[in-house]
């Protein structure tokens, strides 16, 4: 063959290969972490729709068991086994952002037609770290008060408590019933939110840090809040065993009728509704403190794209399929989070009796949704280890509430200063 012919032949071959490559299948790796069998099913069906609309794309779902998801995912990422799209809980966000793993989603949001339909809280939480959107939330989890209507009737209580004083009173009346307790206290892992809610309600504000970066937890109002919670346990208004209770135990305690009141998010509704009849329980806004306000904590989870992904545009398309108004509604019906779109709140699904409690909270100006400072470095250790240990010590009377607050404040101040100084 002559030289020019050879060149043309090579060029054609290359073009042919390229064309073939672009027609070849791309596989996206999607990791979910808040796994449950029903959820995976819903996710799979949303993904199937996506695959049909984008021929040549295949999505491989990896489902991590939640109880070990944190360590498992951290191990995978640190060894270079990264996904394209991952379900990102609020607590993990700052860790992976600071590690440089997550893609900035602002450019994608700017071009998306549905962005203006998102409610303000969604955008606020999306930008929780560095005021830049590193995840697109799929829903908000907000705390509310579950109460056992049957036990309330037995104790002669007509309505759920509106203030903390009423709460304590009701708890006392129910604890007087044989074998029953007033409050499903979460003394084990994950109990931080309750400590914060009652602490903030007593303090009358949900400000965690003073302008100079030091923690407000040593203020007398917060200490009163902590002491109030400790007294619930000491005075026998929570089960003796609850010092060790985690998520599963408090929810089980509630639906087994052992304790009458439980503070939890919308997703606990799924587990409870499966095991209790609608007339047996109700949901009310969190009780207000002496300043007339309550501070239910708000959590969120969403979808993030990994910087290491080779198909970022396709990843964003997948996220849109999961999180656009249609997909988000389907997803949240299964997952039980509050929707991210303003319009969705009108959907018939959200006007059910139980969910009314949350929407009551949302429309009450004295119920102030509170974001936890999850973007602090070392927050996970604080919440999962330090708080658990010192909280249990305080409940058991080994240290005083003031002591505990001091330890928390010291740790949080250090973390805040580290965050402010540089990162």
């Amino acid at each position: 063959m002559s030289a020019p012919t050879l060149k043309i032949a090579c060029a054609l071959a290359a073009a042919g290969l390229l064309a073939a490559a672009s027609r070849a299948d791309t596989t996206l790796k999607l990791v979910e972490v808040l796994t449950s069998p029903e959820r995976t099913e819903t996710l799979q069906s949303l993904v199937n729709t996506f695959e049909k609309q984008n021929p040549g794309t295949h999505v491989e779902i990896t489902s991590l068991a939640w109880s070990s998801a944190f360590e498992k995912f951290a191990t995978m990422v640190s060894a270079g086994d990264t996904p394209d799209v991952v379900e990102m809980p609020d607590r993990w966000l700052s860790l992976y952002v600071r590690n440089g793993n997550l893609e900035n989603l602002e450019p994608y949001l700017a071009q998306w037609s549905d962005t203006k339909g998102l409610n303000d809280r969604t955008l606020e939480t999306a930008r929780a770290v560095d005021k830049t959107a590193y995840l697109l939330p799929y829903g908000l989890y907000m705390r509310a008060l579950f109460y056992n209507k049957v036990l309330f009737k037995q104790a002669g209580i007509a309505a759920p408590p509106k203030t903390m004083d009423e709460f304590r009173d009701d708890a006392r009346k129910i604890a007087a019933l044989p074998g029953k307790s007033g409050y499903c206290l979460r003394g084990g892992p994950g109990g931080l939110n309750a400590w914060i809610m009652f602490g903030a309600a007593m303090a009358g504000n949900n400000i965690f840090f003073k302008p100079d970066g030091s923690s407000t937890l040593t203020d007398p109002g917060w200490i009163k809040g902590t002491a109030w919670t400790v007294n619930l346990y000491k005075d026998g208004l929570a089960p003796r065993d609850s010092v060790n209770w985690g998520f599963n135990e408090i929810v089980a305690g509630f639906y087994s009728g052992t304790c009458a009141m439980l503070d939890q998010d919308t997703d606990a509704l799924i587990a409870i509704a499966e095991r209790m009849k609608p007339e047996q329980f109700g949901v009310a806004p969190m009780p207000k403190g002496p300043a007339g306000k309550a501070y239910p904590t708000v959590g969120y989870a969403g979808w993030s794209i990994f910087k290491s992904s080779l198909h970022k545009d396709l990843d964003w398309k997948l996220i849109k399929a999961l999180d656009d108004p249609a997909g988000n509604l389907i997803w949240n019906k299964r997952v039980g989070a509050l929707p991210i779109f303003k319009a969705a709140e009108q959907a018939p699904f959200y006007s059910s009796d139980q969910l009314k409690g949350w929407f009551q909270e949302l429309s009450d100006p004295d119920e102030v949704p509170t974001l936890m400072p999850t973007n602090l470095p070392g927050f996970a250790y604080f919440a999962d280890s330090l708080v658990v240990r010192t909280g249990q010590q305080a409940l058991l009377g080994q240290i005083s509430p003031e002591d505990m607050n001091k330890q928390w404040a010291a740790y949080l101040t250090k973390a805040k200063l580290k965050q402010l100084s540089g990162k």
């Binding site: 944190f70 360590e71 951290a74 440089g100 052992t258 280890s385 058991l396």
Partner: protein, 296 residues
């Protein structure tokens, strides 16, 4: 050296090398890497970490009350578990060493606890100790062991006994089966000869059974101690180290530091201390065994 001589000298390696090569390839390198973490600031998912920090972590753990608490608990946990497992396992092995109708079935039944994964066993026992769904609190209260029908696992002073009991339940088959296999290889005629000479059962036990069992006993106790000291599963499942760290042992403390704080450097330092302690224990045991064998 002749070919013969060389071949003879190489013989032991022929037998041991396959195992050694596998272990070196798969475990030695990661182990060494893990040990080096103890001297570096290694934080998972922190791109700024990785500096050499010398003995910093060891100074930190020396001043850490949580570390000393975990160390104390580790000693209690290991000593109680091993003693009870061994003692009860030996009794069971002796019982099974006699022929009786249904022995095969009994052997299978008492072996079953070992077949349950520790995770499931932990959940099962936590369930049993929970007054809402389990019978144990009521029984313990009925026999006077507990003041109220409470959950043993939420009493800071006694919570460690919950995982210990679960561990003993799980571990008896280990000793029972290994000791039984060893007992089975003692030739019956030795016993017969001794009986003819007039030796009673206790003398036969001391002079025949124990010496025959000694090598197996030594190695099983050593290994079991080492494993139990590192075995945090039951504790993590049943009490998560609580309440208030009263059931936290070094192994679970290492897990917390490594995977909640993501501080692999500090966790490795604690692991290195544990390793050193266990090595010292192993050496002490070897010296003791050598001394005993010399006496005989």
């Amino acid at each position: 050296m002749t070919w013969r001589g060389a071949a003879r000298a190489a013989e032991p390696y022929f037998y041991t090398l396959p195992a050694v090569m596998l272990i070196c390839a798969v475990m030695l390198m990661p182990l060494l890497i893990g040990l080096t973490y103890a001297f570096h600031d290694v934080r998972l998912l922190d791109p700024m970490s990785g500096d050499f920090v010398g003995l910093e972590h060891f100074r930190e753990l020396n001043a850490d009350p949580a570390f000393w608490n975990a160390l104390r608990n580790t000693v209690t946990w290991t000593a109680a578990s091993v003693t009870l497992q061994f003692g009860l396992g030996l009794v069971l092995a002796l019982l099974l060493n006699r022929l009786f109708p249904g022995r095969a079935l009994v052997q299978l039944l008492v072996f079953l606890p070992w077949a349950i994964p520790s995770f499931l066993s932990g959940l099962n026992w936590a369930w049993l100790f929970n007054p809402v769904v389990g019978p144990l609190p009521y029984w313990l209260h009925a026999i006077g062991a507990m003041a109220d029908a409470d959950n043993l696992l939420s009493h800071p002073r006694h919570a460690l006994w919950g995982p210990i009991i679960a561990n003993v339940w799980w571990g008896i088959p280990f000793f029972a089966i290994t000791l039984l296999a060893a007992l089975q290889s003692i030739p019956a005629d030795i016993y017969e000869a001794a009986a003819i000479d007039g030796a009673g059962p206790w003398i036969r036990f001391r002079r025949i059974t124990l010496p025959f069992l000694a090598p197996t006993m030594a190695i099983t106790i050593l290994l079991r101690t080492v494993w139990i000291a590192n075995f945090a599963d039951l504790i993590v499942i049943m009490t998560k180290g609580g309440p208030a760290d009263s059931t936290q042992i070094l192994a679970s403390y290492i897990f917390t530091q490594a995977f909640q704080r993501l501080d692999f450097g500090y966790a490795s330092a604690v692991a290195t201390v544990l390793l050193a302690l266990l090595l010292a224990y192993a050496m002490a045991l070897m010296v003791l065994r050598a001394a005993l064998m010399r006496r005989n």
